[in-house]
C-alpha cells in the first residue's frame, strides 16, 4: 500500500516521499518499512513502542493513535511530522 512520508524522513528513502510497504496493522506496516528502509521506524516510534511526540499517522486521511489499527490492501497511510521549536 501507499505510504506518504514527511520530508524529515526522506533521508531514509533516498529522497522518496511516497513509498510502498505492506502490513495488516500499522505496527506491521512500520516493521515492513523498517526492513525496506533500515532505521526509519525508530525515527517515528521510540524504544517503548510509543509514537514520538509530534509524529502523527493518518489512515485514509483519518488520524489513528494505535499501532494495532488494522490495515487493508489499498489503504493509504500518511505520516506527518509537525514542526515546532526553532
Amino acid at each position: 500500500m501507499k505510504v506518504v512520508l514527511p520530508s524529515p524522513l526522506a533521508s531514509y528513502t533516498s529522497g522518496k516521499r511516497e513509498v510502498q510497504a505492506e502490513g495488516t496493522t500499522l505496527a506491521g506496516l512500520l516493521a515492513d518499512l523498517d526492513r525496506r528502509y533500515p532505521g526509519i521506524r525508530f525515527r517515528m516510534i521510540d524504544e517503548q513502542d510509543g509514537v514520538r511526540p509530534h509524529m502523527r499517522f493518518f489512515v485514509n486521511r483519518v488520524l489513528v493513535r494505535s499501532l494495532a489499527v488494522p490495515l487493508a490492501p489499498g489503504d493509504e497511510v500518511f505520516v506527518v511530522a509537525a514542526l515546532s521549536g526553532g
Binding site: 524529515p8 521510540d46 517503548q48 514520538r52 511530522a81 509537525a82 514542526l83
Partner: protein, 375 residues
C-alpha cells in the same frame, strides 16, 4: 603529515575546522547534519579515523552517526542507544538525546561509551554501529534516587556526562550526573559508588550528602594516574585519591571572580596545569562572564594559585556562555586551547592561554568542541 581537526558540535549541525600542525591557515567544513542538534562529536584517537557524532533531529529523536572519512560520508548506528523496554504495564524510559561520547581504553579497540539524557550509560563494541545499555547503571536500584525526579532536573534534562575511562585501568569508569554527583565503577560498569566526599552541595540543607551534587565537568588526566579535577556547580575541585576526598582548589580563585563555571581542561603533559572559564554564579546565576569580561583562568600548581588569561578576548560587553563540552585543548606543543560560545564563536590560543584569537564567527549556538590529529 597529520592535520589538526577541531570538531564543533552546535545546535544546528556539526562543523569541522582544520589546520596544519602550525595552526596558521584554517579551513572550515560543514555544516554536517544541518538543522540537527549535535551535542558531541569525537574522533577515535586509537585509529585516527572513526568519527562519532551524537545527533538529534527535532522530533525524530536521537541517534549516533559514524564516519571513517572525516565526515565525507556518514553511516547511522543500526542500533542507537535506547533504554530497555519496560516489563509489564508501565511505560519505560526513552532516551531524549545522546549527550556525551567517549572512546574506550587504548587496548579496547572498537569500544565506545555514550551518556544520555535522561541519565543512561550505553556501550558499543563495534565502533558505534550497535549500542546496548550498561544495565549495572541503567537498572541500578538506586539510580532513580541518584538522578532525582524529572521536575528537579536541569533545563535540558538530567544528564550523564563526563564519561572518563581510567587510562591505567580499562574497567575503571568515572561519570558525572547532573544534580546527581560523581560516580565510579571499577568493574566495567557492573557496580557503582558515589565519589563526592569533600564536594559542596550548597543547595541541600545537609552539606554532607553522599550524592545529589552537581558536577559540571569531570576530567581524568590521560597520562598521570589518579589525577582527577572537577568543575562543579559549587566550585572547582581536585580529587586526592589516597583520601578519596575532593579539595576545593577554587577557593584560591580571586574572590571577585569566584569558582563557578562549566568546562575544565587539563594539560595533557602537566598534571598540575588546568584551565577553567568562570561564569557569574551570583544572584539568579546569569552564567555569563563576570562583568561581561570573558577570561580563562589557569593554574600551574594544581590549584594553589590561578592566573587570569584574557588578552585578545573582549575587554567589555562580552556576554556569552561556554558550555561544559565546549572548551578543550589539542596535544601539540605549545598546547593549543579552544572554546566555543553560545553566540557561535570559536576562540583559540596557541600559547597556552596567554593570548586568544577568534577562529570563526556566526556559527550556531555551540555545544561542544573537541580536537583530533588526523593522519
Amino acid at each position: 603529515m597529520t592535520r589538526l581537526a577541531v570538531l564543533v558540535g552546535t545546535r544546528k549541525g556539526l562543523f569541522v575546522l582544520g589546520a596544519d600542525r602550525k595552526r596558521r591557515a584554517w579551513t572550515i567544513d560543514g555544516p554536517h547534519f544541518l538543522g540537527q542538534v549535535v551535542n558531541h562529536a569525537v574522533l577515535d584517537p586509537r585509529d585516527g579515523r572513526t568519527l562519532l557524532a551524537a545527533v538529534k533531529a527535532g522530533h525524530l529523536g536521537h541517534t549516533v552517526f559514524r564516519s571513517e572519512d572525516l565526515g565525507r560520508t556518514w553511516e547511522e548506528s543500526s542500533t542507537p542507544p535506547a533504554f530497555a523496554k519496560a516489563a509489564g504495564e508501565g511505560r519505560g524510559e526513552t532516551v531524549s538525546h545522546v549527550f556525551w561520547l567517549t572512546p574506550g581504553a587504548a587496548k579496547e579497540k572498537g569500544r565506545w561509551y555514550a551518556g544520555t539524557s535522561p541519565a543512561g550509560l550505553f556501550v558499543s563494541d563495534d565502533g558505534g554501529r550497535n549500542w546496548c545499555g550498561v544495565e549495572g547503571f541503567n537498572a541500578h536500584p538506586d539510580r532513580r534516587k541518584w538522578i532525582g525526579p524529572p521536575e528537579d532536573a536541569p533545563p535540558d534534562g538530567n544528564t550523564l556526562h563526563s564519561l572518563n575511562v581510567d587510562p591505567f585501568d580499562p574497567g575503571h569508569i568515572y561519570i558525572g550526573l547532573s544534580a546527581g554527583g560523581v560516580f565510579e565503577s571499577r568493574d566495567r560498569g557492573a557496580t557503582w559508588s558515589p565519589l563526592n566526599k569533600g564536594c559542596a552541595a550548597d543547595f541541600f540543607p545537609d552539606p554532607d550528602v553522599p550524592y545529589g551534587h552537581d558536577p559540571h565537568c569531570v576530567r581524568v588526566h590521560p597520562k598521570v594516574r589518579d589525577v582527577v579535577y572537577q568543575q562543579n556547580h559549587c566550585g572547582i575541585y581536585r580529587l586526592d585519591r589516597a583520601r578519596d576526598r575532593w579539595e576545593r582548589i577554587g577557593k584560591n580563585m580571586p574572590k571577585d571572580i569566584g569558582d563557578i563555571g562549566f568546562p575544565l581542561v587539563l594539560h595533557p603533559r602537566d598534571a598540575k596545569t588546568a584551565w577553567v572559564f568562570p561564569m557569574d554564579g551570583g544572584t539568579v546565576w546569569p552564567r555569563m562572564p563576570i562583568g561581561g569580561k570573558p577570561a580563562a583562568y589557569v593554574t600551574r600548581d594544581a590549584g594553589r594559585s590561578w592566573k587570569r588569561q584574557d588578552r585578545g578576548l573582549p575587554a567589555a560587553q562580552g556576554w556569552f556562555t561556554v558550555k561544559r563540552q565546549a572548551m578543550t585543548c589539542d596535544t601539540l606543543d605549545p598546547l593549543g586551547l579552544y572554546f566555543g560560545t553560545t553566540g557561535g564563536e570559536v576562540w583559540s590560543s596557541f600559547d597556552e592561554g596567554e593570548s586568544w584569537q577568534c577562529l570563526c564567527l556566526h556559527l550556531p549556538h555551540i555545544y561542544s568542541v573537541e580536537t583530533a590529529l588526523v593522519p
